[in-house]
């Protein structure tokens, strides 16, 4: 419950319809895309403009009330899970496209603008916004910055951090600060990079200047079939190793192709152990030359069949299966758990083989559909939550995959973020010296930890507790810390 005096001061700032406190009104905000965790907030605030955001944050700071910023609520790691006794600060009403500058090739947008809406608004100028997470129809650009979102095209065009020039944000103390610059570089510490992927822990974003790119004149996609999963993994390394950076490089294993074929009828080779989709974009001359090189490398890597799209309809058809993979898998299994880890590409064959072995060991099918060019795995573990023991085995299977990602030099989240889901995994990935730096940065922005508390960066005490339960390879994590 909020202090009535605090609520009435909020009512001075916000119209009644923008200040939700009844349980039935706040219910839709109790979780995001990670529905495993739910918490109803004390209030949901829906400001119309930056001035209201400033006023709200000043009030929350003065009253020591936790604040969780929220965009479209599509986070897969619980980044927008409310804090008990805290407020949800929804940026959904800040959704203006402020300006598009086709000469500078930038767009200035508010955080609630949908990712795809930016590309739609830029399309008349022949421009587009490159990062394209699968949820791009729904997810907001503010959330994309907070999570440093990726997507199919980020192999060639970079992650959110590479495609944002400037961010305007409000600190917990209510100061408006700009990070980055309209020019190539911004001197001093790279605070823009810190804000990208900070999961709402450092400041509340109110305006973003994104880079726009010229739409490639032409694109073709090659679909390559392999009769062996490891060979397909090795082919990914061979393409990149040949110095080719394709517009997209995705992999689906047989479990995944069979699920999507029944759903979209893209005519995938269903007897193949794995399929690669490799896109080339640019001028027709460049694409022809690159495609020739790609097919050469794929053949040398043992592809059993290669099809190159001959027109736009065919290209979209080949991609349709990849784009629909998650819903398609949802059709064949009562539940699935999506893992998001990233590894160096060279480790792909080994890691894929290991996941296959574990899948047999646990008796849980696992579909692999992922950004292979980035080494960003998305194993989908299929289970039935109503079957006793399935959920526990699924979680253990997922933990093993993420630990393997760390062991081969990768990371526990490639693009979904830490949120609440992976807070324990952070203790496994980072030693105390790094966690202390994270906490120091957090304190520099938000000394009282009011912004999105309990997410993103674990306290050392939490890691000690986690370590008590999680003894890895017989080694106790953080033996120097007192146990609780």
């Amino acid at each position: 419950m909020l202090d009535p005096a605090f609520t009435s001061s909020l009512a001075q700032v916000l119209a009644p319809a923008s200040l939700l406190t009844d349980a039935e009104d706040t219910r839709p905000y109790e979780c995001d895309g990670l529905t495993l965790f739910r918490q109803q907030p004390a209030a949901v605030l829906l400001p119309d403009n930056e001035a209201q955001v400033v006023a709200i944050l000043r009030l929350c700071h003065a009253a020591h009330v936790p604040v969780v910023a929220r965009g479209a609520g599509t986070s897969l790691s619980g980044g927008a899970l409310p804090a008990a006794d805290g407020v949800v600060l929804s940026l959904a009403k800040l959704r203006r496209i402020v300006a598009i500058d086709p000469l500078a090739r930038t767009a200035i947008v508010e955080p609630g603008v949908r990712n795809l809406a930016i590309s739609e608004a830029a399309a008349p100028y022949g421009l587009f916004y490159a990062p394209d997470p699968s949820s791009q129809i729904a997810c907001s650009i503010g959330g994309n910055v907070a999570e440093n979102a990726g997507g199919v095209h980020c192999l060639k065009y970079g992650l959110t951090v590479h495609n944002v020039r400037k961010v305007r944000a409000v600190t917990i103390e209510g100061d408006v600060v700009e990070f980055g610059s309209d020019a190539l570089d911004s001197p001093g510490y790279d605070l823009l990079a810190l804000i990208n992927g900070s999961e709402g822990l450092l400041a509340v974003i109110t305006q973003i200047t994104v880079k726009l790119l010229a739409k490639p004149q032409y694109a073709q996609v090659a679909l390559a079939a392999f009769d062996d999963l490891e060979r397909a993994g090795a082919a990914v390394g061979a393409v990149i190793g040949a110095g080719i950076i394709p517009g997209g490089l995705e992999m689906m294993d047989q479990q995944a192709t069979r699920a999507v074929e029944a759903f979209v009828h893209a005519n995938y080779p269903l007897d193949a152990a794995a399929v690669l989709l490799i896109e080339s974009d640019g001028t027709p001359v460049e694409v022809a030359a690159e495609m020739a090189e790609i097919t050469h490398v794929l053949t040398a890597s043992g592809a059993t069949e290669i099809r190159v799209s001959q027109d736009e309809t065919q290209r979209l058809l080949y991609w349709s299966g990849r784009k629909a993979a998650f819903p398609a898998v949802g059709r064949i299994s009562p539940d699935y758990y999506c893992i998001d880890g990233t590894i160096p590409r060279a480790a792909l064959p080994r890691v894929l083989r290991q996941i296959e072995d574990w899948s047999r060991e646990f008796g849980l099918p696992c579909a692999n559909v992922f950004h292979a060019g980035d080494g960003n795995l998305h194993p989908l573990i299929l289970f039935d939550a109503n079957k006793p023991g399935d959920k526990e085995r699924t979680v253990e299977f997922g933990d093993r995959i993420l630990q393997l990602c760390i062991d081969v030099g990768g990371t526990i989240t490639g693009e979904h973020g830490v949120g609440i889901e992976k807070i324990g995994g952070m203790c496994a990935q980072f030693p105390p010296v790094v966690l202390e730096r994270f906490l120091g940065i957090k304190r520099a922005f938000d000394a009282e930890s009011l912004l999105n508390p309990g997410k993103g960066v674990p306290t050392l005490a939490r890691c000690a507790e986690f370590g008590r339960m999680h003894v890895h390879h017989g080694e106790l994590r953080h033996p120097e810390l007192p146990r609780f």
Binding site: G241, G243, E286, A346, G410, G414, M426, R437, F438, I441
Partner: protein, 471 residues
């Protein structure tokens, strides 16, 4: 005791004496206090504002750096990391004395991962050394600020250079680091995965932090396949405006040129004399380089040539053979020395500014007109594809009036760039010379930078007096 971002003070002489004695006993001839070596480590290039360290130590390992850092932390002695001293904004001057950590002997390429297009190097590896060692792998590291700087120094200053228009700056090309913290612990940031959203981006925070948040000892870098085809071309223009306008059109069309370099008539004249480029005229000039497949390169070049012709540019003069290209780029890299040779005895004050590409013509033309009012000679060169240009202001160090005119001109260039939505430095960094400009540009964000400095270096021992203005 000073705390971070307060104005620091020099350590007590007794503390310095005890420290130098200890380091000399531990590191022998790798810990030097001679005047000559301290003088050599008292400044970078650019303005010769020297400030000598008390001792220069040459560590070989991460553990040695950590050990020295722990000793200095306990004794409250400043530590300044040093590569080969090619920085331009006074980054390495030991303003408060202390220990200069010369990392140039940490110069091993630790690993090259062909299939992953990355490598790991020690901080003292130079750019040219890395590319020499990569020969035979078919890979290269493209970032090229001109000087043969160390990778550690380029990382610390977030260097860019002639290739940034195609390959990005150090910001885009550093994947991870090994860093020694202010209290002497070794930490790794980032990893070899291509993307991660776990934790704050310490790697990018450290990139460009100019030795003020930690000592960078190892760097994981992105590498690129050597393009199948490379060619370079030179195009000369009747006036500066036509040259810059051509660049803007090319960039707006998104043509993936690997380099676009501008030299104004003064700079071109200097280069013709210095590098014997007698086939060219002293006119505003653009140098292009194209990377890609043979067909792709031809296509890019045709598009650029037609844009240049529309703006009154000359026919392209091609440099397709490797030796022709390297002669051309060598002349470009020597532009600074060529400018100095215009006025023997004078010093060069190299300043750097960067604006959104749509404002580039305005900024360059206003700057050229501004130079004319001062009576100083100041050629303009630039990586104009990024909206980044440099001014080498020539002045007589003995003539105080000339020096203050040069400084005022540089300050006006910075403020003009900021007013146009740009920045006071595209690639040289802040060091000591641009602290005021940083204040003008960043306003409220400075308090956050100061708070981060306090969080990561509470005693203000890491390169004190640089990068972030005092509270």
């Amino acid at each position: 005791m000073n705390s971070a971002t307060q104005s620091p003070t020099r350590p007590q002489p007794e503390a310095v004496t005890a420290l130098t004695a200890r380091l000399r006993s531990e590191y022998g001839d790798r810990a030097l206090t001679t005047h000559a070596i301290r003088e050599q480590h008292s400044h970078g290039e650019g303005l010769a504002d020297a400030a000598m360290p008390d001792i220069v130590v040459f560590p070989h390992t991460n553990e040695e750096v950590a050990s020295i850092m722990r000793i200095c932390h306990a004794a409250r002695i400043p530590v300044i990391a040093f590569g080969v001293g090619t920085s331009l904004e006074g980054h390495v001057a030991a303003l408060y004395g202390g220990v200069c950590l010369d990392l140039s002997q940490m110069n091993r390429v630790l690993e090259v991962n062909d299939a992953d297009l990355d490598c790991r190097v020690q901080a003292g590896v130079t750019r040219e050394q890395l590319n020499t060692e990569l020969k035979g792998t078919g890979l290269f590291f493209p970032i090229d600020p001109g000087a043969n700087a160390t990778i550690g120094g380029m990382t610390s200053t977030r260097a860019s250079g002639t290739n940034a228009v195609r390959y990005g700056t150090m910001r885009e090309n550093v994947m991870g680091l090994t860093v020694v913290t202010a209290d002497g612990r070794i930490m790794r940031t980032g990893n070899r995965a291509r993307k991660s959203s776990a934790g704050y981006d310490l790697t990018r925070l450290l990139v460009g932090s100019e030795g003020t948040l930690g000592i960078i000892t190892e760097i994981q870098l992105r590498l690129y396949g050597i393009p199948e085809s490379i060619s370079a071309a030179v195009c000369q223009f009747p006036d500066l405006k036509s040259a810059v306008d051509s660049v803007i059109v090319a960039m707006q069309l998104g043509i993936p040129v690997a380099r676009i370099e501008l030299l104004d008539d003064v700079q071109m004249d200097a280069c013709i004399r210095y590098s014997q480029l007698t086939e060219f005229a002293a006119k505003p000039t653009l140098c292009f380089e194209f990377h890609g497949t043979e067909a792709g390169v031809r296509e890019q070049a045709q598009m650029i040539e037609s844009i240049a012709t529309d703006h009154g540019g000359s026919a392209f003069q091609w440099a397709t053979k490797p030796e022709e290209r390297s002669r051309l780029w060598k002349a470009r890299h020597n532009a600074y020395y060529a400018a100095l040779a215009l006025a023997p005895g004078k010093q060069g004050f190299a300043t750097d500014a960067c604006v959104p590409i749509s404002r580039l013509t305005d900024c360059v033309l206003e700057t050229q007109a501004d130079v004319a009012t001062t009576g100083l000679v100041a050629p303009i060169v630039g990586h104009v594809g990024d909206g980044n240009f440099h001014l080498v202001i020539l002045f007589d160090p003995a003539n105080l009036d000339e020096r203050s005119k040069a400084e005022a001109l540089a300050a006006r260039v910075a403020l003009r760039a900021i007013a146009m939505g740009g920045t006071c430095t595209g690639e040289h960094g802040i060091g000591v010379h641009k602290l005021d400009a940083l204040r003008a540009e960043h306003g409220d964000a400075i308090a956050l930078m100061q708070a981060i400095k306090r969080a990561l270096d509470p005693l203000n021992l890491l390169n004190p007096g640089k990068t972030v203005p005092p509270v």
